[in-house]
């Protein structure tokens, strides 16, 4: 049941519109209910071949030998594709926006870095014949030590997952193994806070599970071009990725898609198009490469896991004065898009609240698991879980109603956000008020009267003095320049404040019986 609250912010809108705001039927609904909407897999081409891949059975191993001779002779096999057949067998998705280094082969050559990594592709007359040939590919693995935990991956001596990033971390700004966010002096504020609460949060990976699996059909077309029917969520992303991997001009391809059976972020990675096209190039026949469901679930990229540590300082009156966050994105064996999500996550800190001292370190970590990718709420979903669970605990700690606690700390128009941009067009307070009203959750009058458009700015608009961290900058960038390093970094000019005294350790005595917090809990400073 959906109710439009036109009464709120009415003065900011012109509702005199004809088509906008109407619940017009979807353009695609008739196609959907009659089954005539055309998805990539609904294209039937004469003489179509089927492509299946041989996947690694090890999470981390050197490939000593790949023997495809029996597979090549297997009935119905038209072509066996190896890494050497891929014109540019190393890519990273965001190289299209010049972010990050090529780190992922289309077909593994000398090493596999996750269980299920593609090693060989078989193009055959039927799926059955492709499966039969797959069983005939012999691969000699030399297993290597694995690492699956993001914090283990950072430890000295941890197995190197991806040699492009030997520290198992993505490199930011050529020098850092994480993205920083610095706003004010969080440590100083924590030292003077009434309560400090430090917590650990964890989100396991999540699978997109669209009802239509990833797939593509590629076929030779006239003029040396290839037509490609695809489930992609990002048509030109896929076109340009294929052009790079296959080393041909992008107008070699005619991509057709746009009607996709669910994506949720899981169809951004251009997983099937390059090999389907390569298969079509090598055989001269239409080639179809579609994930089975188990492939989609286990080897299609998930929303990556995240581990988040939050340390907050809160005053007895409910004001949060400091928030320190350390977050680890589990990127799996390759970068894909996690590097980007970490920056988005840093920008999102400290959530929709005005906190005068914020400190964030966000890491993109490599482990021996299926590479992660974007998903609905990318970079934010797990952080919001952590922040909002933390907010509930803080409210509990100071004895405030959680709704009122949100309103008290909510960002308002004119406030300075931690990424140093003014908050505008905010509406968190109104959402809390309306949700409370709908849920018949009583909040006090002063909180019912609060407004995103009032009481912001002023001292809340200031950028607080922020301590600088000393570090030796390398003389010259040692790595590929990214879009993020085109300008010299601006270093905050304020001198560092005197180091605050270290907080005295106190026994973690829960102030109420119900909760068991894992670390520092409710340590009173005054």
């Amino acid at each position: 049941m959906l109710e439009l609250r036109k009464d709120i912010f009415a003065d900011e809108r012109d509702d005199n519109l004809k088509e906008i705001g109407k619940g017009t039927q979807r353009q695609d609904m008739l196609g959907h209910v009659t089954g005539t909407s055309t998805y990539f897999g609904d294209h039937k081409l004469q003489g179509m071949l089927h492509l299946k891949v041989v996947r690694s059975s090890h999470a981390h191993a050197r490939l000593r030998r790949i023997d495809t001779s029996d597979a090549e002779r297997s009935q119905g096999v038209r072509r066996v594709i190896r890494g050497a057949d891929v014109p540019r067998n190393l890519n990273t998705l965001l190289s299209l926006i010049n972010f990050g280094k090529d780190d992922e082969p289309s077909l593994a050559v000398d090493k596999v870095r996750y269980n299920g990594e593609p090693i060989v592709a078989i193009v055959a007359d039927s799926e059955r014949e492709a499966f039969e040939a797959i069983a005939k590919v012999r691969i000699d693995y030399e297993p290597l030590p694995t690492v699956f935990d993001v914090e283990d991956a950072l430890k000295p001596g941890a197995p190197v997952v991806n040699e492009t990033y030997p520290k198992n971390t993505f490199t930011y700004h050529d020098v850092y193994d994480h993205q920083k966010l610095r706003f004010g002096d969080a440590d100083a504020a924590l030292a003077t806070a009434d309560h400090v609460l430090e917590q650990r949060y964890q989100m396991s990976p999540i699978e997109h599970a669209p009802t239509e699996t990833n797939g593509a059909i590629a076929a030779p077309d006239t003029n040396g071009r290839y037509v490609v029917y695809t489930s992609t969520q990002a048509l030109f992303f896929s076109v340009d990725t294929c052009a790079k991997i296959l080393d041909v001009p992008s107008n070699t391809f005619h991509f057709i898609g746009g009607t996709v059976g669910g994506g949720f972020g899981g169809k951004v990675d251009t997983l099937t198009e390059p090999l389907a096209i390569l298969g079509a190039m090598l055989t001269g026949r239409p080639v179809r490469y579609v994930f089975g469901r188990e492939e989609e679930m286990q080897y299609g990229p998930p929303r990556g896991a995240e581990r988040i540590y939050i340390k907050d300082g809160v005053m007895r009156d409910g004001r949060i004065v400091a928030r320190k966050i350390r977050a680890y994105f589990d990127s799996g064996a390759y970068t894909r898009l996690s590097s980007y999500a970490a920056v988005k996550c840093a920008a999102h800190l400290p959530g929709p609240y005005t906190i005068p001292n914020v400190y964030g370190d966000v890491y993109c970590i490599f482990t021996n698991r299926t590479p992660a990718t974007a998903m609905r709420g990318f970079g934010v979903t797990a952080m919001d879980f952590a922040i909002e669970c933390q907010m509930d605990k803080l409210a509990h700690l100071v004895g405030m109603d959680p709704m009122e606690f949100r309103i008290l700390n909510a960002y308002r128009d004119g406030d300075m956000k931690a990424h140093r941009r003014e908050a505008k067009n905010t509406a968190l307070i109104e959402c809390v008020q309306v949700a409370a009203e709908k849920a018949k959750w009583p909040i006090r009058e002063e909180f019912r009267r609060a407004s995103s458009r009032k009481d912001g700015g002023g001292s809340r608009a200031a950028i607080p003095p922020t301590p600088t961290e000393s570090r030796a900058r390398p003389a010259a960038p040692t790595q590929q320049r990214t879009t993020y390093d085109r300008l010299p970094p601006t270093v905050t000019r304020e001198p560092p404040p005197p180091t605050p005294p270290p907080p005295s350790p106190r026994p973690a005595a829960p102030s109420h019986g119900a909760t068991r917090f894992s670390s520092v809990f409710g340590t009173r400073r005054r």
Binding site: E3, L4, L235, V268, P352, F378, V380
Partner: protein, 340 residues
């Protein structure tokens, strides 16, 4: 008493468009000789309603009925570049590109109509029903069909428009993280009520109440689809889903829809939604994007409701019955908090 009810809430915001910008989308709009319009895109409809929402944006901007507009996507030979359907960028980025293209096409259409009606284009307006008339003089009118015929066959004009929308790429300061991540944000608050079985750790959804601020609901039915389906996904993320049930140990990964857990039609609960509209200055008609953020408040609201019900905090997603049961046992039993 083995089942306990509890309520929890969470409030969130969400950035619209690709972080830092630098993610353009283009649109082409043109009329056929009968005054029917085609929007050519390369954007993807994954079910979120891309085709439908851009169609309404185009119709509104042109001043023609929605039936006179058809959105054709996605073909890399005919549709101009679009970064893709992700990062809540569809409505905002593509919508703006379509608006720009439709504005340009409308300009030509109004000029062509002005020539036919022998007036100044600035004195004309559309009625949204397929006609263009002189302001204040509805009888001095011409149909968009007749304008299109005249433009094409008499005046030699193409009623068409090009649009692009680009939020320029922001730099990121390596030391402070100073950056311009997004130009606008959507907001939400959600209250979840759950029932927790303290002997099995099972959590059942009882109901949800929510408020979402989305700039403008361009099509409330499409918004409702996103919010209802997105909240379901939020419940799913909160309580059920993962391809690695023993993360970080990668064992026992699900292989099918029986092993990969998502709430079934018997697990859903009533959900009352309010939509608020604070227009984004740079959104098409003020719109932001509801598609991604709708799931996010559900996860913590459910976790907080579980605490309210039985007094345990589960900080690891998904919140499986096992985690709840272990926590209850470690605590020595359920400790219901004050009812909300």
């Amino acid at each position: 008493m083995t089942r306990h009810r509890g309520r929890g809430m969470a409030s969130i915001n969400y950035p619209i468009g690709m972080n830092l910008g630098g993610d353009p989308s283009q649109a082409l709009v043109h009329s056929n000789p009968s005054g029917k319009f085609t929007v050519a895109l390369s954007s993807i409809d994954l079910g979120q309603g891309m085709k439908s929402v851009t169609r309404q944006i185009c119709a509104e901007t042109l001043g023609v009925p929605v039936e006179d507009v058809y959105v054709d996507t996605a073909d890399s030979d005919t549709g101009p570049h679009c970064m893709g359907s992700f990062a809540s960028r569809g409505t905002h980025r593509v919508g703006n590109a379509v608006m720009a293209a439709a504005r340009e096409a409308r300009g030509v259409m109004m000029e062509a109509a002005a020539e036919e009606l022998e007036v100044n284009a600035a004195d004309l307006e559309t009625d949204g029903r397929g006609n263009i008339h002189v302001k204040g003089a509805p009888h001095r009118s011409i149909s968009t069909k007749d304008v299109a015929i005249a433009a094409q066959f008499k005046q030699g004009k193409t009623i068409s428009g090009r649009g692009i929308f680009l939020v320029p790429l922001s730099d990121v300061d390596p030391e402070t993280g100073e950056m311009s991540p997004a130009t606008c944000y959507a907001h939400a608050c959600l209250v979840a009520e759950v029932e927790v079985d303290d002997e099995t750790g099972e959590v059942a959804m009882v109901r949800m109440d929510s408020a979402y601020e989305l700039g403008r609901a361009l099509n409330p039915r499409l918004v409702e689809q996103q919010l209802v389906g997105g909240a379901w996904m939020g419940v799913s993320h909160a309580l059920y889903e993962t391809p690695e049930p023993y993360y970080p140990d990668p064992v026992h990964g699900p292989r099918d829809f029986v092993e990969y857990l998502m709430p079934g039609p018997g697990d859903i609960c009533p959900h009352d939604i309010a939509v608020l509209e604070r227009p984004a200055p740079d959104g098409p008609f003020g719109a932001k994007g509801p598609g991604e953020m709708c799931a996010n408040p559900v996860l913590p609201a459910v976790a907080n409701a579980i605490f309210n019900a039985v007094g345990v905090r589960i900080d690891d997603l998904p919140i499986t019955p096992e985690k709840v049961l272990r926590a209850i046992k470690a605590q020595g039993g359920a400790r219901p908090q004050a009812r909300r």
